[in-house]
């Protein structure tokens, strides 16, 4: 749309404009091994990292609970940023408030703002729960959320009937994954009751999706569990709140989020399955160590093997047999894979994004005979690296390289010196893909430049079909676009 004047043709004669040849020379130098080495040697500057900060994860987590308002203790600029970014990805409204801290907050502390904030937000938004998180500012000035909440209760500034779990989510530690985990942990720890000794467990399985912005994944997991006939409770279920029907009514708290009553009793459920490892560590530890849950972490169910793992875990916990319907779905997914595998086998992929998603994607690509040449994670740790290396070993994928704490400028150097055939990851990868002249399939967070991708599951056997469809058809589109007349064939 619209960009009709890329250049109005006006040259400014008064400034020395670099000669085209010189520009080209420098850009070519940026594609060399020498530059790559310099680039990989840097210690301090970070360039295009695919990683956000903790409070964003906390805000996303809060959206998954019934009538819950995110209450961020910090400057309102931070909250504007989280709301902007999440709204751009989901193309949905997203409510959150801050305590609007300013300079005097830095001097006197933020308690007065928090008190006023509780009152105003309660008047306007009538929440059942404030999910309270912090920012770098409130962390550095040393505000103690516990005493702020207690003082507010005592002084009548925070009504007793509004729940107020709080989490420290400093932006200078970890990423959005830890923020999600800290908030979810605070909500469960703050609300869930420890089951009394001898109390019988329910049949319900708790499902923790983790920081997952592919809403289709959550819906797919629910669909699978319904086919199983298993009872389940999704903890932090924003699959509806961030995708509710347009019918002429704006709802600040759309239905479908996790009910607070259900959170209270969640520790009494049969078991918990977390679908991500790196955004649920604290929560899983709380559930198993403090609340006596059988809390398990599975690999994100992407690809056949990890989906199988998930089904077997559900079957084991629920003592329900894996239904024929799902086995049939599996068979259809395998059918789709074998029909299309020739277009992926031997192709080299560069993948980047959040760690759990990468583990799943790499597993899927290996199942298809693809080569995950570069696996790059801006928020992964050694444990993640080991997971990827184990996968490489299992498939004898000696060409695979895994990078943690690296950014997309590193990725560009990798791609420019030794190309891959396709890039898979969030929207920010488009610049590196363009420079390398390779296609880019969008998955993960954030996706700002394509519509509706987040509605399609990557999980389950359905996810296998989606991924295969996108990847293979993208290759085939390129084949068609670049074929001469003779090779522009009907059959592919």
């Amino acid at each position: 749309m619209g960009h009709i004047f890329r250049d109005a043709g006006i040259k400014k004669e008064v400034i020395d404009i670099m000669e085209k040849e010189e520009v080209k020379k420098i850009k070519e130098w940026m594609n060399t091994e020498e530059y790559k080495e310099k680039n990989f040697n840097r210690q301090a500057i970070v360039i295009n990292p695919e990683r956000a900060c903790q409070p964003l994860g906390a805000v996303l987590c809060a959206v998954g609970f019934e009538n819950t308002m995110s209450f961020v203790h910090g400057s309102h600029g931070c909250v504007a940023y989280y709301r902007n970014n999440l709204s751009r990805h989901f193309r949905e409204p997203l409510a959150a408030v801050s305590t609007s801290l300013t300079e005097d907050g830095a001097v006197f502390g933020g308690q007065a703002n928090a008190f006023e904030g509780f009152k105003n937000a309660a008047d306007l938004y009538k929440p059942k729960m404030f999910a309270i998180s912090t920012t770098c500012m409130s962390e550095i000035i040393g505000d103690d959320l516990g005493s702020i909440v207690a003082n507010a209760r005592e002084k009548g500034r925070l009504a007793e009937d509004i729940l107020a779990p709080y989490a420290n989510t400093p932006s200078f530690v970890g990423s959005q994954l830890e923020g999600y985990d800290n908030m979810l942990n605070a909500i469960i720890e703050g609300i869930a009751k420890k089951p009394e000794a001898g109390m019988e467990k329910t049949d319900v399985i708790n499902i923790i999706p983790g920081f997952d912005t592919t809403l289709g994944n959550i819906n797919e997991i629910k669909r699978i569990l319904k086919i199983f006939g298993a009872k389940f409770l999704v903890l932090a279920d924003y699959s509806n709140t961030l995708d509710y029907p347009l019918n002429g009514e704006y709802k600040m708290y759309p239905e479908g989020a996790t009910k607070l009553e259900d959170v209270k009793t969640c520790a009494n459920n049969k078991a918990t399955i977390a679908l991500q490892r790196y955004s649920t560590k604290k929560t899983v530890a709380t559930l198993s160590e403090k609340l006596g849950q059988d809390a398990r972490v599975v690999k994100s169910p992407i690809g056949i093997n990890y989906t199988d793992d998930f089904l077997m875990t559900v079957s084991e916990i629920s003592r329900l047999e894996i239904p024929k319907e799902l086995e049939d779905e599996r068979g259809k997914a395998i059918d789709c894979m074998t029909d299309a595998q020739q277009y992926i086998h031997g192709k080299k992929f560069a993948v980047f994004g959040d760690p759990d998603l990468l583990v799943g994607l790499v597993s899927y690509l290996l199942e298809m005979g693809g080569i995950p040449k570069y696996v790059l994670c801006s928020n992964g740790n050694e444990e993640f690296k080991k997971e990827i290396e184990d996968l490489f070993e299992n498939y004898s994928a000696s060409e695979g390289e895994v990078y943690i704490d690296k950014d997309l400028w590193h990725l560009r150097s990798l791609l420019m010196t030794d190309k891959a055939d396709m890039l898979i990851g969030p929207s920010h990868g488009k610049f590196a893909a363009r420079d390398a002249g390779i296609p880019h399939i969008r998955v993960g967070y954030p996706i700002f430049d394509r519509v509706n991708i987040h509605r399609y599951p990557l999980y389950g056997y359905t996810g296998v079909i989606n991924l295969t469809t996108w990847i293979v058809n993208k290759f085939l589109d390129i084949l068609d676009d670049t074929s001469d007349d003779a090779h522009f064939e009907l059959l592919r």
Binding site: M18, R42, A44, Y81, K119, A121, D123, M137, F448
Partner: protein
Amino acid sequence: MAVDFKEKEVLIEEVISVYSERAKKNRKEHIGVNSRETCGSCVAKSNIKSLPGVMTPRGCAYAGSKGVVWGPVKDVINISHGPIGCGHYSWGTRRNLANGETAVESFVPFQFTTDFKERDIVFGGDKKLEQAIKELHELFPTAKGIVIESECPIGLIGDDIEAVAKKMTDETGIPVIPVRCEGFRGVSQSLGHHIANDSIRDFVVGTGKIDESKKTPYDVAILGDYNIGGDVWSSMKIFKEMGLNVVAHWSGDGSIEEMKITHGVNYLLLHCYRSMNYIATHFEEKFGIPWVEYNFFGHTKIKESIRKIAKLFDGNIQEKAENVIKSYEPKMQQIIDKYRPRLEGKKVMMLVGGLRPRHIVGAYEDLGMKVVATAYEFAHSDDYERTTKELEDGSIIADDMNEYELVELANRLKPDLVASGIKEKYVFQKMGIPFRQMHSWDYSGPYHGYDGFEIFARDMDLAINSPAWKLVKPRWKK
């Protein structure tokens, strides 16, 4: 028809009735009914703190400095100095288009950050910053400057970025500019604009050598156009046709090299008054260069602005200006003939930053539309003085309007279009009200200039008259 002010005041009372007495008293001062007779600050108070716990649309000083003023300057590297988030969220989200080879001539699409960790908070980040600048200078040797955009922690932990900047300027030979735009400063983006303007004043303005032999009497600079979707380019086209020589454009598709020689121009043409009046005033005081505000939204205002600017110059330019106006008349008439019948009488509510809530009014009126309420995120009293004259009596004017008030107002005013930002977009679309993002032009644009008006008109029409809106209610419920 006489305007019923009372009716509007009652409506405002209703909207704010939900607040506590204390909050109500505060918000009441920020919302008023327009009358061209009264002063702007009498209608709405401004540039004061937002209420905690209320969903203000406002951003922070960092957003104003990095996101608005410095971010579009293409030949400098902007370092988001501090933790990871701020740089991530402001990465490529403002649509400041820039010509030039990325990573050599333009650094606009990048996210550079010192990515503070706990140890940097505890031990300070000056050493890391110094190292980061050295690395950047080595990896991007063509960058013409490095701008350090402070995030909240910098001011709280007492880092001395000024000392680092000075040392690194000497070492690298390019300007390294410290900007104290920590997010907790001030009440909104607005102070960030001011702080960024001051840093340009202190480190950039007047530092370039003017080549007298290349000067012409028609040298001008554009201030306050950020080239959203190509706005600068469609504006420059007009200036060029008028016979003016645009030496610099601040800061959309702009460069620090242009900023350095801007003191050589004869006039400054200021589009966004809110974000760049500070530097304009500095040029006037220090170099005696006059500045003039203009408005390139909509046929009527463009025409007025062309004449206003041409008056500053000789008969030659004035004649060309009239020719420009004449040459676009048929096209403008065509646009109005095409879209006005489809948009006549449609009601608009706006909530944007510090300029557009008044500047775009004329463009809507050219299409026969009526702005029934207009609100700013971060305007000051001088903006409100300029606003009352642009709007009809009885329109509602509001400051720092939050989502609750905006929704309640929409429920009562029943607009056909809401024009605001990404945070508001989906709220109103859920209500079944057509919406256009007026910060980013909703990924379209340009909206400035003659070429922009055609796109603006098309976009308002496609939003309001999309057949999809008629499908919101199922047939079995009609």
